[in-house]
């Protein structure tokens, strides 16, 4: 019995470190595979937007002790721009949506409907992102191309970013809308959860001072539960930054052309890794793989940071209710 217990205890000890071990080993391996690219490109990786596999018919070049295809260049600017712009735009679209729906769910719906709606919202998280992407291609892109983008161009062209050529429905807007649809449930569920931790005395106190439900909701979002609002937003952002498949399908997956308007095709860091990996294996110097590793490394650092921040802040928001007076 005693030995069994000991074995069990040490096993659980070991198992509890497995997630940490996996995380660290992924990080270490991605870092390791990035080294040739870090050697080859140096700081230029962060300053150029050109991503070019080089000319295979010419002999490879040797730089800083590593070998790379002739005239090859690997820069993250285009992908970073795509990731940041599409994610930021997604947040801008998702926030008002999330505010309205969390207030509606929390304050206007009967509690039975609230439960049903919350489980539906949580179901959204289970939809494979390729399904969002497919919906984006067959529904969203035509609607954007034929109706919304021409309307925007006609009416908003004086606003920076809204003038420009429309080539197809795929691009920044389509990516941002798809991402907004994917992250709204995340933000709503964090906010609804935080509303539930607000003491009933606070809610009744606000109502008894003559606040409408809308004013109560507004105060909870921007005041009492604001840490959860920030946290939920960051968690949504974390998801948007790392989303790959859906964005790959609707972004236009462009390389080497910087976007000039919201109608432009883009590419994101995650989508680029997925879409460029296949051809990268044909690079006999291995430099393409190294460059994609470095891209993954940067993406991993950004989205881990955002997720950790989001979790910490959202957690603090939930605690506030308990700590009050």
């Amino acid at each position: 019995m005693d030995t069994k217990n000991k074995i069990f205890n040490s096993l659980t000890m070991v198992m509890s470190f497995v997630p940490l071990f996996i995380l660290v080993s992924i990080f270490v391996f991605v870092l390791y595979y990035s080294f040739p690219a870090i050697q080859y490109m140096g700081i230029r990786f962060f300053t150029t937007y050109l991503w070019y596999p080089g000319i295979e018919s010419r002999p490879p070049v040797h730089v800083n002790g590593v070998t790379a295809p002739y005239a090859s260049s690997y820069g993250l600017i285009l992908f970073l721009t795509g990731t940041l712009v599409s994610s930021a735009l997604a947040i801008i679209i998702a926030l008002p949506l999330s505010f309205f729906s969390s207030i509606a769910v929390e304050l206007y719906l009967p509690s039975r409907m609230k439960k049903v709606l919350i489980s539906i919202i949580e179901l959204f998280a289970g939809i494979p992102s390729v399904v969002y992407g497919l919906w984006g291609i067959i529904v969203l892109e035509p609607v954007l191309f034929y109706y919304i983008e021409p309307w925007m161009k006609d009416n908003l062209s004086s606003v920076p970013g809204f003038a420009g050529e429309i080539y197809s429905g795929a691009g920044i807007l389509a990516s941002a809308i798809i991402l907004a649809i994917m992250i709204t449930p995340i933000i709503v569920s964090v906010m609804v959860n935080s509303f539930d931790t607000v003491p009933v005395e606070i809610k009744q106190g606000i109502i008894s001072l003559g606040a409408t439900k809308w004013e109560l909701g507004k105060y909870l979002i921007t005041g009492y539960s604001r840490m959860s609002t920030y946290g939920g937003t960051l968690l949504g952002l974390g998801r948007a930054l790392g989303e790959t498949m859906a964005v790959l399908m609707v972004s236009g997956a462009v390389v080497n052309v910087l976007p000039s308007s919201f109608y432009s095709a883009i590419n994101t860091m995650a989508a680029a890794v997925a879409s460029l990996l296949d051809s990268a294996f044909f690079d006999s110097t291995g430099m393409s793989i190294a460059a994609l590793s470095e891209l993954s490394l940067v993406l991993m650092i950004i989205s881990l940071t955002v997720n950790v921040l989001g979790r910490r802040i959202a957690g603090r928001g939930a605690l506030r209710g308990v700590e009050l007076d």
Partner: protein, 245 residues
Amino acid sequence: MEISKLSVRAGQKTILDNVDINIYRNRVNTIVGPSGGGKSTFLKCLNRLAELDRNYRVTGEIFLEGKNVREYGEIELRRRVGMVFQRPNPFPMSVYDNVAFGLRLQGNVKKDEMDMMVSSSLQEAGLFDEVSDNLKRPASTLSGGQQQRLCIARALILRPAVLMLDEPTSSLDPVAKGKIEELMLELKERYTVVLVTHDIGQARKVSDYTSLLFNGKIVASGEGKDFLERTSDDTMKAFLGDLTA
């Protein structure tokens, strides 16, 4: 206020059963009774807070200054009938912002006017001298008794006709409790006070008109501080006996 045939049901359960009470102007009107007797629900009917609970069915008529409370908008009614809760519930913001909260909901108030209203409400609630050196301090740094008086100031800034206090001292120490009891006697000069308490001693000290609410029914009511002693009602005696034993 006049309350007539007020009943509240939640499913099969009757919380208030045909309550008839008059609330007298500039008096401390006290509802006493054991916990779970429907006292808080009674108060929540007066500002229509009870209706927010979808399980509650409220019937009967309540009049404020001759007008049925249903004819007031909910918002307007809640501004006319202020409420202070059992547990101090300051919002997590500064003392100043707490008091200003209700007025800010009404729209734009000029800064100097707001300053004046905040100070006078704090003065009325007997808190001004204790906090005037720094109104920007977080409300959570105040003591429990101060927090409760802050909540009173927060209700008073809307200049309500009626101020309802739901067991306002039950979570406070004796000194803080005494201050609030004195405050009630001052407040009734300008406001109509409705006090709910299970503390007979408190009712003796401050009440002008007392009713006993027992299992959702008003079983005795009468004027005067010594009404509680003079009563011949058996239920009241049993309740008093329970508490003094």
